[in-house]
């Protein structure tokens, strides 16, 4: 059984890695700063909303790109939403793919859009797994009686 200090070390190392690899940016720190004793689950709540909303948007995007007559305005609207929410939680890599995606929408480039959908799905899946791991590590620290050493 790892000690509190070891668990905290694991958490810090993992978080730093996520920032270094560009999965998360400073906006994630901003969210952590908004969390306090009166709202101890704020970050998990917002990120969970992000997961739900993103999955809905990705489904809509897949459907929209399968249509006979592709509605680029609709696709752009969905990507705009995804870009916005990923930016708000600091999911940098997802946000970056969305920027390229919108350019392809403007060009009405179906192949470009399909490629971006594939990429954004991949990046979303990666950041989701990483964040779930992060939250799991946080729970371990708290369960061992430690506190979350934020900011890292």
């Amino acid at each position: 059984m790892d000690s509190v200090v070891q668990l905290q070390r694991q958490l810090v190392d993992y978080t730093v890695q996520l920032f270094n690899e560009g999965f998360l940016d400073d906006q994630f720190n901003q969210l952590q700063q908004l969390q306090d004793e009166s709202n101890p689950d704020f970050v998990v709540e917002v990120v969970t909303l992000f997961f739900e909303d993103s999955e809905r948007l990705l489904d809509e995007l897949a459907k929209a790109l399968e249509q006979q007559s592709v509605d680029y305005t609709k696709i752009d609207a969905h990507v705009h939403q995804l870009k916005g929410s990923s930016s708000s939680i600091g999911a940098q890599r997802v946000q970056k793919v969305c920027i390229g995606f919108r350019n392809f929408c403007e060009e009405r480039n179906i192949e470009g859009c399909q490629k971006c959908l594939h990429q954004v799905k991949r990046e979303y899946s990666l950041v989701k797994t990483k964040l779930e791991t992060l939250f799991k590590l946080e729970r371990k620290v708290l369960a061992a009686g430690g506190s979350i050493p934020w900011p890292m």
Partner: protein, 162 residues
């Protein structure tokens, strides 16, 4: 927590309900609404969120066919996203500034896109300020200085304690 209602308000905790500045936050993005809400609650404001311009106007009593609400409603700051379906933040801004009852309320427009013509348009339209998303805690702290004092008495600032 799904935002199924048109608007939701935060409960106040430390200060009396009437003393906290009241912010109306308008944004079609669910995640952004939650973040903006927390930003302003943490800056000791009461927050009401609306998911689009139409709902915001209804809340303010400015929708077509409504009679303006003179007495009960106190909103000290309106913060609105620019890009929203149906009515943009700019269009909402104009409607508010055209209203005899609501035009004095400072309106801040936020956008994820840094477009100078858009910024100029909003400032010309009477916006207090134009900020880029994503908003940070420092933005909410800065915006508090724009908050118009309620007509009756002052509001709970840093010096007041419950």
């Amino acid at each position: 927590m799904a935002n199924t209602s048109s608007f939701s308000s935060s409960p106040s905790t430390k200060f009396s309900f009437d003393e906290k500045p009241h912010v109306l936050a308008v944004d079609d993005n669910l995640i952004d609404r939650k973040v903006i809400e927390r930003l302003f609650i943490n800056s000791t404001c009461k927050v009401t969120t609306a998911e689009n311009g139409k709902r915001a106007l209804e809340y303010l009593g400015l929708a077509d066919g409504q009679h303006p609400n003179h007495n009960d409603l106190k909103v000290n700051l309106i913060i609105t996203d620019y890009s929203m379906p149906g009515m943009t933040g700019y269009e909402l801004l104009k409607r508010i500034k055209e209203s005899p009852t609501m035009k004095e309320i400072p309106v801040v427009v936020v956008s994820s896109e840094n477009i100078p013509t858009r910024i100029n348009q909003c400032m010309q339209g009477g916006a207090q300020e134009f900020l880029l998303k994503p908003l940070q805690l420092s933005d909410a702290t800065k915006l508090r200085c724009h908050i118009k004092k309620p007509l009756q008495g002052g509001f709970a600032g840093e010096d007041d304690h419950a």
